[in-house]
């Protein structure tokens, strides 16, 4: 098997630091305006054990995604679907899972040459869900805030992912907050919506 340079880069939960976007608590369901060249996802993963994730998946499916229920275990998704694909080319993948699943996928995604370019945590605190978004600053500036009940925010979160512009792939600190996403604590039951994609930035 030939390995490309980017393949070699293992992704890691490798990033820490400063939260940049802060909690977003207003309401809307999707990106506004026309959508130039959206990313195309090989799969959109969701953890079907959680109602919010099922709502997310339903919306993603309606928007054309090939959704995959991981049911708490990413093995099948990775081994049967992503790894063979990523050996050929670093195709973008998105999803909504718990942090644990994302971390493992991040680490495995390096073989496919992908990086987490967008990550939103959805943490429940009693009846309220707070949302923190990390990604390219250009994207964050255009994303309407998430809010409301799961029936409202989860489809909206899917809309954000499914309408993600193909040119929103920066990860460097000058253009993105994604490297700061791990600096904030997460409750154990928080869901994360995310995008893994080939990054625009290249190393030295």
């Amino acid at each position: 098997m030939n390995t490309t340079r980017r393949d070699l880069l293992k992704s890691g939960a490798a990033v820490a630091a400063v939260a940049a976007s802060g909690a977003i608590a207003a309401a809307d369901l999707s990106l506004r305006g026309p959508v130039p060249a959206a990313l195309r996802f090989h799969k959109v993963a969701y953890d079907g054990r959680f109602g919010e994730a099922r709502l997310f998946a339903a919306r993603a499916r309606a928007l054309g995604a090939d959704v995959h229920d991981i049911d708490g275990d990413i093995t099948d998704l990775w081994y049967e679907h992503l790894y063979p694909q990523w050996k050929r080319a670093p195709i973008p993948v998105a999803g909504i899972t718990r942090f644990n699943s994302l971390l493992a996928l991040q680490l495995m995604a390096g073989i496919g040459g992908l990086r987490v370019i967008y990550r939103a945590s959805h943490a429940r605190d009693r009846a309220r869900t707070s949302h923190e978004l990390y990604g390219p600053r250009a994207a964050l500036a255009m994303i309407p805030p998430l809010a409301g009940a799961p029936e409202r925010w989860a489809p909206a979160a899917a809309g954000i992912v499914m309408r993600w512009r193909a040119d929103w792939t920066a990860i460097d600190r000058g253009h993105s907050t994604i490297l700061d996403a791990d600096a904030r604590g997460l409750p154990a039951d928080a869901l994360i919506s995310w995008i893994l994609a080939p990054v625009r930035q290249r190393a030295a």
């Binding site: 098997m1 390995t3 340079r5 070699l8 880069l9 293992k10 992704s11 890691g12 939960a13 490798a14 990033v15 820490a16 630091a17 708490g72 275990d73 990413i74 093995t75 990775w78 081994y79 790894y83 718990r98 942090f99 644990n100 699943s101 971390l103 493992a104 680490l107 495995m108 390096g110 073989i111 990086r115 990860i171 460097d172 600190r173 490297l179 791990d182 600096a183 904030r184 604590g185 997460l186 409750p187 154990a188 928080a190 990054v199 930035q201 290249r202 190393a203 030295a204």
Partner: protein, 531 residues
């Protein structure tokens, strides 16, 4: 860029240029975003001055390229830190022991060189993962079984060299290896065992000793060479695998219960188990906690009474397994049940049977590992429940009831003295012959103070258990000097011997400086090393 101690920045820069010439610029990683990927995702000291971070990473694709970069490292005295797939989370991941080291990432060396079905062995490069090997075997319809760890994302080479384990008959992975190819600290290339004999053919991955000293051990958990090929013994696909769980009801039967378990292993009736655990003592049950922390830790009668009320056994064994011809497995199983039935309150909790070639989809997550099916399901488990990693304290102790009590008593004492919460009794993992090992974890969070408390408590445990003869056998890089100092017989004769080897075969000290507490002389002269 973090410049390693003992290296001039100009030399690091020159070496990186030479690496680029040798490997191609695209295989030398120096940007923050790229180097960030080689940090320890579970570091308990993340973001502090104690965190071990690389300066760069390089990725050769061949043995010749590994030799070339080692020679360049020698020329400029730039420390390299070899990794295979770098998945050893909780024990450092792909981060170096010495900050500023250049990670030597071997993932591009990912050839399955041979899988020999009749001989039940394979030869692999370090970048081959258990998933890769599993896929190769499936794709070629070979009737052999691998023995992955849990999770199964690492590599046979890296896992074996780090004394990793699985849950099948070959569970002690270093013991299951046979023959190494190694690039030395000077860039020379050697093969161990029969590999040193030209034209030895298939003897290399079959007969591990060859002639003369058996040196493979010095390349495990060490920094004496870069392993570029390894022979690994496989298991012929068993006709039947039976996995079962059992428990007994009386607290006071621990000693005999463990002795029985050990003997079942010693006579080869049990092929493997996952662990012995203690539902009543390890769970966060207030009444159990109170009893555990009462003077004397509770009498047998008290524990039995509490267990009876709660419906929880004191001792339980999970995932015992017998693998082989169906008739033999049936006899093994009958014998185990017969031996265990003499214990009061013996209960067979569950039993699962898997024919050879079973559809992986029909195997529940907890049994996949024992059946040679690599899995990532553990990532949904408690090990990462809060999403910030964990720090595992991993002592080894004799497979006896007395040692189980002693180690848990010391853990309780150590946590109390360190002022951190104790999670309760930890079970014994049966991954090595005649020995229990334990994973007693500290949960890491984004709270630096809490993590610092965990680190301080961990240090205390290393010393407390080490002083009582129960030292860890693997540990995170920030504790490796401290752990090495526990192995202090005869004025640290073992460490001094390791240092002599290091100085002799890696005289410029370019390979994995500080690994296992073994530092090259030029850094020992600067004060590095176990106190």
């Amino acid at each position: 860029v973090k410049v390693p101690a003992g290296t001039e920045a100009s030399d690091l820069g020159a070496a990186l240029g030479a690496f680029a010439n040798a490997l191609g610029h695209e295989w030398v990683f120096t940007s923050d975003a790229d180097v960030d990927l080689y940090r320890d995702a579970y570091s308990p000291v993340r973001g502090t001055s104690d965190e071990r971070v690389p300066s760069a990473a390089i990725a050769p694709a061949s043995v010749e390229q590994v030799q070339a970069v080692v020679r360049i490292a020698n020329q400029y005295r730039v420390p390299l830190y070899p990794i295979s797939t770098g998945r050893n989370l909780t024990y450092g991941g792909s981060a170096p022991v010495l900050s500023g080291s250049v990670v030597l990432d071997l993932k591009r060396m990912n050839r399955v060189i041979e899988v020999n079905e009749p001989g039940a062995y394979c030869i692999v490069e370090p970048g081959v993962s258990y998933f890769d090997l599993y896929r190769h075997i499936r794709d070629h319809h070979l009737k052999v079984r691998i023995d992955p760890p849990d999770p199964g994302w690492g590599s046979p080479v890296g896992n074996s060299l780090e004394h990793g384990v699985g849950r099948g008959p070959h569970r002690d992975h270093f013991r299951a290896h046979c023959g190494l190819e190694v690039v030395t600290g000077t860039g020379d290339l050697l093969r161990t065992g029969m590999g040193a004999l030209p034209n030895s053919g298939s003897l290399w991955p079959r007969f591990r000793y060859g002639y003369g000293p058996y040196i493979d051990g010095i390349f495990s958990s060490s920094n004496f060479g870069v392993v570029t090929k390894m022979g690994v013994h496989l298991l012929p696909e068993p006709e039947l695998t039976r996995v079962f769980d059992l428990s007994i009801a009386r607290y006071q039967d621990l000693d005999e219960f463990v002795q029985e378990l050990a003997q079942l292993f010693d006579v080869g009736v049990l092929n493997s188990i996952s662990q012995m655990n203690m539902p009543l003592l390890s769970m966060q049950i207030p009444a159990a906690r109170r009893l555990l922390e009462s003077p004397g830790g509770g009498t047998s009668a008290q524990w039995n009474a509490l267990g009876g009320r709660l419906g929880l056994p004191p001792w339980r064994i999970m995932q015992l397994n017998c693998q082989g011809p169906a008739k033999i497995v049936a006899a093994q199983y009958d014998y185990v049940i017969d031996r265990m039935s003499r214990f009061a309150g013996f209960k067979l909790i569950d039993q699962r049977n898997y024919p050879g070639g079973v559809d992986p989809e029909r195997v529940p997550g907890q049994d996949k590992c024992a059946l040679g099916i690599p899995s990532l399901v553990i990532f949904d488990g408690v090990a990462m429940a809060r999403g910030h990693g964990h720090l595992d304290f991993s002592p080894a102790y004799p497979m006896t009831g007395e040692a189980v009590r002693k180690v848990n008593s010391l853990l309780q004492q150590g946590h109390r003295e360190a002022g951190v919460p104790w999670r309760g009794w930890a079970g014994g993992n049966t991954w090595f012959d005649k020995t229990f090992t334990m994973i007693s974890g500290f949960q890491l969070t984004n709270d630096p103070q809490q993590n610092a408390s965990a680190v301080a408590a961990f240090r205390h445990l290393v010393q407390l258990l080490g002083a009582n003869g129960f030292a860890e056998y693997r540990t995170h890089p920030i504790f490796q000097d401290l752990l090495a100092s526990q192995y202090s017989f005869n004025d640290h004769a073992l460490l001094r011997f390791n240092q002599s080897i290091k100085d002799a075969i890696d005289p410029r000290g370019v390979l994995a400086a500080g690994r296992a507490g073994i530092w090259p002389k030029y850094l020992r002269d600067q004060g590095k090393g176990p106190a």
